[in-house]
Amino acid sequence: MNFNASRNGPSGAIRKAKRVSDVAAMGTPAPNPAFSPTAYSPGYAPTGPPPPYQESFQLDANQDFNTHAPADFGFAGGFPSPMTSPAQISSMLQQPVVQDMAIQYGNQLAAQGKEAVQRELHKFVPVSRLRYYFAVDTRYVIRKLMLIVFPYTHKEWMVKYDQDTPVQPRYDINAPDLYIPSMGYVTYVLLAGFMLGLQHRFSPEQIGIQASSALAYIIFEMLLYLVTLYVTNTSTSLKTLDLLAYSGYKYTVMISSLLAGLLAGRTGYYCGLLYSSCALSYFLVKTLRLQLLSGSQGPEQPSYGFPNPPYAANPYSDAWDKPTPGGTKRRVYFLLFVAITQPLLCWWLTYHLVASPPGEGAGPAR
């Protein structure tokens, strides 16, 4: 290597000593943590692009803070002295070999970081489970929406299973999905903005307020359901995401009642709300009854013919012949609780969008 210590850094006394041992030090690119920040900045700026393949090491910075331990630093032979000056490192980094290595190291770090993030994320949000809920297609969405609006003629409510795992929503209309709830949420926020605009109550912050309000209600409702399930010690086969999916179906109710309110004023809104709440309650009761109560026969007869038998884990509850074995009655009550709170929440989240003060005349929601 060609040592050309010709670079003039303005940091104090500039010595043009040569350091032969620094060649071997390229294998240890870790900088010495005893950097003094004063040596950092001045050594950098004025150095333009150095002549290629020429090393110009600045040793002044090295000798600045080496006042108390000069003997330790790397001048002893045989010891690959670590790079101790930022200017040295910067000039070293411009070598293509080091750049390749740096790129490789950076890639490695990025891959490790990505893996770590994915692992942590997977602990909180089961991504593979999420993918199940979004495996829908157009036909499923249309049929499901029609089912939510008019569930009275549907006969077969059982979710099909495929070797212990529920079938994807695209193959079974009874399976819960998260696509409709998320689309419903976005549509609700936009529709709320539209309705507010018709009433001259709109401002761009309202979109954010409506969105965060609806999100807060979702979180609150999920917490309420989960705490209720935990406190009453009700064992169900409903997972959290299932519960989220079922409670997200009320967005279709809200949107349809808001549209009815758009078309026909407040009476239209209330009629639409009444009809679609009945339909939603019917739909929820029929669907959740099978999911909640399908395990109620687990502890009573230990036949594992049911596809998801997590209730066999509680075999002692029935041995003492308790009235509510963990329990069917509680599940029924929980079901009714869900079926009643859904329409209430629908009404609560939409009535302030449709409310018309008296005397404002006709027109949609005003």
Binding site: S212, A216, V231, N233, S317
Partner: protein, 81 residues
């Protein structure tokens, strides 16, 4: 209007309320103590047991993070009203 900030404040206050219930000075006097020997296995499914269990676990888990969250929230409210 229930916004995310209101929800956060409400949960913070509720968690504070749960963590304030002192185990020795209060709960045992009332009979909600968590270390009584009268809890056999039949008690495990009663609602009181579940709630007390929930209270105790919330207290254990959120005692330290609540300190941090409370300090942050207080500073936030002092500065931004």
């Amino acid at each position: 209007m229930l916004t995310l900030w209101n929800l956060f404040e409400a949960t913070l206050l509720c968690l504070n309320a749960v963590c304030v219930l002192h185990e020795e000075r209060f709960m045992q006097k009332i009979g909600w103590g968590a270390n009584t020997q009268t809890q056999g296995f039949e008690d495990q499914s009663s609602m009181k047991f579940q709630i007390l269990n929930l209270v105790r676990s919330i207290r254990t888990v959120t005692k330290i993070p609540l300190i941090i969250l409370n300090i942050l929230t207080i500073m936030f409210k002092l500065l931004l009203g």
